[in-house]
């Protein structure tokens, strides 16, 4: 079976700063891939490269076997099949929650107003935001905004959703509601690539974790592998730091 995403030898530099140095991985249908690592390791850049918000200098990305870098490829069409959830939500500030979610299906997928509204309502239902559909983003809490952001992605019915540190900009008490929505999605079999430091989430649903540092993949493996048997010094060191930060030992929980 063709992988949903194939990322092949991605290189990206800003001026002389090499951010990504030959990153490759595949994402199969239904997989949840967690990417983690110190800040500045290129994780966010990597996600933006996957849907070509930031075109790479070298390398290739395939969505279901179709190259996104092919000059003949209709990039806008391909992007409709890749959801993106931003760290800062980036909801459209002048649109109510419901319109934030329905504008994609209506404008880009060409649905009628009713169809798009139906799709938007279903998506908002999934993230438990139906009661807030007529609020503007500025009237919602961070956690609520992020859930609308997730709804905006799933309303497009994409092949894969990319999450760029979806809980990093949230107050601690709001992180749970967003993670719960993401857990639900994962358990429904949604294909996801998640950049996050939420190791509880990674442990619960990720099929593979990728540890990045300084623009390269240092180590890959299952959650069990990382929490019991991490090989590289850098990964071990980083996981230890996360434990200190969150005040509990991830390794002890298994």
């Amino acid at each position: 079976m063709v992988a949903v995403l194939e990322v092949r030898d991605i290189w990206k530099a800003y001026d002389t700063l090499e951010v990504l140095k030959g990153i490759s991985f595949d994402v199969q249908k239904g997989e949840v891939k967690v990417i983690f690592g110190p800040s500045g390791s290129g994780k966010s850049t990597l996600l933006r490269v996957i849907n070509m918000l930031t075109p790479p200098d070298k390398g290739e990305v395939f969505l279901c076997g179709q190259s996104l870098m092919d000059s003949k490829a209709d990039l806008c069409k391909l992007r409709t099949r890749i959801g993106f959830v931003f760290q800062n939500f980036n909801l459209f500030a002048h649109l109510k929650a419901i319109d934030n979610v329905s504008i994609g299906p209506r404008l880009v997928l060409g649905m009628t107003k009713e169809e798009a509204n139906d799709a938007a309502h279903r998506a908002l239902e999934k993230v438990h935001m139906s009661n807030w559909s007529h609020h503007y983003p500025a009237q919602l809490s961070g956690g609520q905004q992020q859930r609308v952001g997730i709804a905006r992605s799933i309303a497009m019915n994409p092949e894969v959703i990319l999450f760029d540190e979806p809980t990093s900009a949230l107050d601690p008490e709001l992180i749970g509601e967003v993670l719960q929505v993401m857990l639900d999605l994962a358990q429904e079999g949604t294909t996801m690539v998640v950049v996050t430091h939420e190791m509880g989430f990674a442990r619960a649903v990720s099929s593979e974790m990728i540890f990045m540092d300084k623009g390269v993949v240092v180590e890959k493996g299952t959650p069990q592998h990382f929490f019991q048997d991490a090989q590289s010094e850098r990964a071990k060191h980083f996981l230890r730091k996360l434990e200190v930060l969150y005040g509990q030992s991830e390794t002890e929980k298994t």
Partner: protein, 216 residues
């Protein structure tokens, strides 16, 4: 004077409208256009911001009057020429207002629009411009206040607006000069202050409720 007021308001309305359309175009060229268009746009702004309105009026209404004679009468030709001068100058200022507003829309908005698969045209039209236009309203009311008062300069080329009628009246009754000029001032004030105050305040609170416009 009652005949001068509609002329002054028509001049204001039409120049602002044309200035708006040209200004938006210039701002889009300046922000998104290729280098040649950016160059044209910024050149236009520099030229029209650098020439006094009175000189522009002389250029259009005297130097280029022949171009406007198709309008039928001398009044129409002068009126049209003044609108050109006012509108093209206002366009230069308005394009600066819109350019600032477009650039102050969070870049994340464009990224989010692209990530949904919108074309740059769709993203600009449905996401960026609606926000930029809201952001530009406070600056735009200021431009309105400037233009409505600048229509008074049009009297210099003989278009019978408020000032022109006021002056003609005071030539007949020189003793009433101060009274006439006071009434004229009050009329300008009444059409400026309440509008800028009302629009400015309602828009500022609207922007705040959308989390746009920063600060506070």
């Amino acid at each position: 004077m009652t005949r001068g007021l509609p002329t002054a308001l028509a001049l204001t309305f039409l120049s602002l409208l044309i200035g708006f359309l040209v200004g938006i175009g210039l701002a889009l060229m300046r922000v998104y256009g290729p280098i040649e268009l950016r160059w044209i746009s910024s050149g236009y702004e520099k030229i029209f911001r650098g020439i006094p309105l009175l000189v522009l009026l002389f250029i259009f209404a005297i130097g280029l009057l022949r171009l406007f004679l198709w309008t039928g009468s001398l009044f129409n030709a002068l009126f049209t020429a003044s609108i050109f001068a006012l509108a093209l100058r206002s366009a230069a200022y308005q394009s600066e207002i819109f350019r600032g507003a477009i650039m102050s829309v969070d870049p994340g908005q464009m990224m989010a629009a692209r990530s949904l698969g919108m074309t740059d045209y769709q993203a600009t039209r449905k996401i960026i411009l609606p926000q930029a236009l809201r952001l530009s309203v406070p600056g735009w009311t200021n431009e309105y206040a400037v233009v409505i008062k600048d229509t008074s300069l049009v009297s210099a080329i003989g278009v019978p607006e408020l000032i022109y009628h006021g002056m003609a009246f005071s030539w007949t009754y020189p003793a009433l000069f101060l009274g006439i000029i006071t009434v004229t001032s009050i009329i300008y004030f009444l059409f400026t202050y309440p509008v800028t105050k009302y629009v400015g305040e309602s828009m500022t609170s609207k922007l705040r409720s959308l989390g746009l416009g920063g600060g506070r």
